[in-house]
């Protein structure tokens, strides 16, 4: 009987703790980062792009645009990443003017060995992209291993992307 009474008086505290747990968890969650259903799946076929482009080498596929401010922010890091031995960096130029893109790359440097123009965003939709920048890491077999939404920070690179790329380059 006493036990029941104690339990009853503790009830509000328990409910509060459950709510607290959910609130704390959502503090660390960005609602704009939606997990991509593509991770672990082969690269989808993209209109006007040969699928062999993403095979036989580790690829960083970066969706960018000259008008995108966040792309500009991550650009110096992309320049550094592109110097990684054995790594191929391919850019998708999202809804951009070719002329503007050329000026952008001339000014900030060109990390891409290949640039795919996507003037009306069709390729982006086929890739499940919903903003710039987005970055995919693709292994030698052409399977998407990771997707990063938003600009890559130095921490993202050090803690997540670099270790994964090194592993993929070693062929694991």
């Amino acid at each position: 009987m006493i036990l029941k009474k104690i339990l009853k008086s503790l009830m509000p505290l328990l409910i509060f703790l459950v709510i607290l747990a959910f609130l704390v968890k959502s503090l660390h969650r960005d609602p704009h980062t939606v997990p991509s259903p593509f991770v672990g799946k082969p690269m989808p076929s993209l209109p006007g792009v040969h699928s062999d482009l993403f095979k036989h080498h580790v690829t960083v596929l970066n969706v960018f645009a000259s008008w995108c401010l966040y792309c500009r922010a991550e650009h110096p890091l992309l320049m550094d990443i592109s110097e990684t031995k054995g790594l191929t960096m391919i850019g998708i130029d999202y809804k951009d003017e070719p002329k503007e893109m050329r000026i952008f790359l001339k000014h900030y440097g060109n990390p891409y060995s290949n640039i795919i123009a996507d003037p009306n965003g069709t390729i982006a939709i086929n890739l499940g992209v919903y903003g710039t920048p987005e970055t995919f890491i693709i292994d030698k077999k052409g399977v998407i291993r990771y997707k990063h939404v938003g600009p890559i920070t130095l921490n993202d690179w050090r803690d997540t992307l670099k270790p994964l790329i090194q592993r993929l380059l070693r062929g694991v």
């Binding site: 939606v34 991509s36 259903p37 965003g121 939709i125 499940g128 919903y130 903003g131």
Partner: protein, 130 residues
């Protein structure tokens, strides 16, 4: 006066609905309805609490034209939704199927109803007892 009436009529007829139909012309009423049904049931991934029909973002525009192309090509609702879900995940659909990630969402109303019933019963018992 007649001139004025004609002008008003012309202005009134060029409503936004007319513009939308010009943008996405369909040969059949059925396809038109299908298109509207799908864009009403899909989330704009950029402005997450709006559907594709309401959103004016550039991204929603691209999604609409992509859906338009599929509808005109004679794809079914299921095929179009499957195409988008395969690329953007179940989150893109406002009508998600019963699935591992969504079972809590579907069962929550039943669960809450059961809890409410249990509380109600205990309260009822208490009052009847006294």
């Amino acid at each position: 006066m007649r001139f004025l009436m004609i002008m008003i009529f012309i202005l009134a007829s060029s409503s936004s609905l007319g513009l939308a139909k010009d943008r996405y012309p369909f040969s059949t009423e059925k396809q038109q309805q299908q298109f509207e049904r799908i864009i009403n049931d899909m989330r704009c991934m950029v402005c997450q609490n709006q559907n594709l029909a309401d959103s004016s973002s550039g991204f929603a525009d691209d999604m609409r034209s992509e859906i338009y192309k599929m509808v005109v090509a004679g794809k079914s609702d299921r095929q179009v939704i499957h195409f988008m879900v395969k690329r953007y995940g179940y989150f893109v659909s406002f009508d998600p199927p019963f699935y591992r990630e969504t079972y809590l969402l579907w069962l929550a109303p039943l669960l809450l109803l059961a809890i409410a019933f249990l509380i109600g019963r205990s309260v009822y018992k208490k009052y009847r007892g006294s």
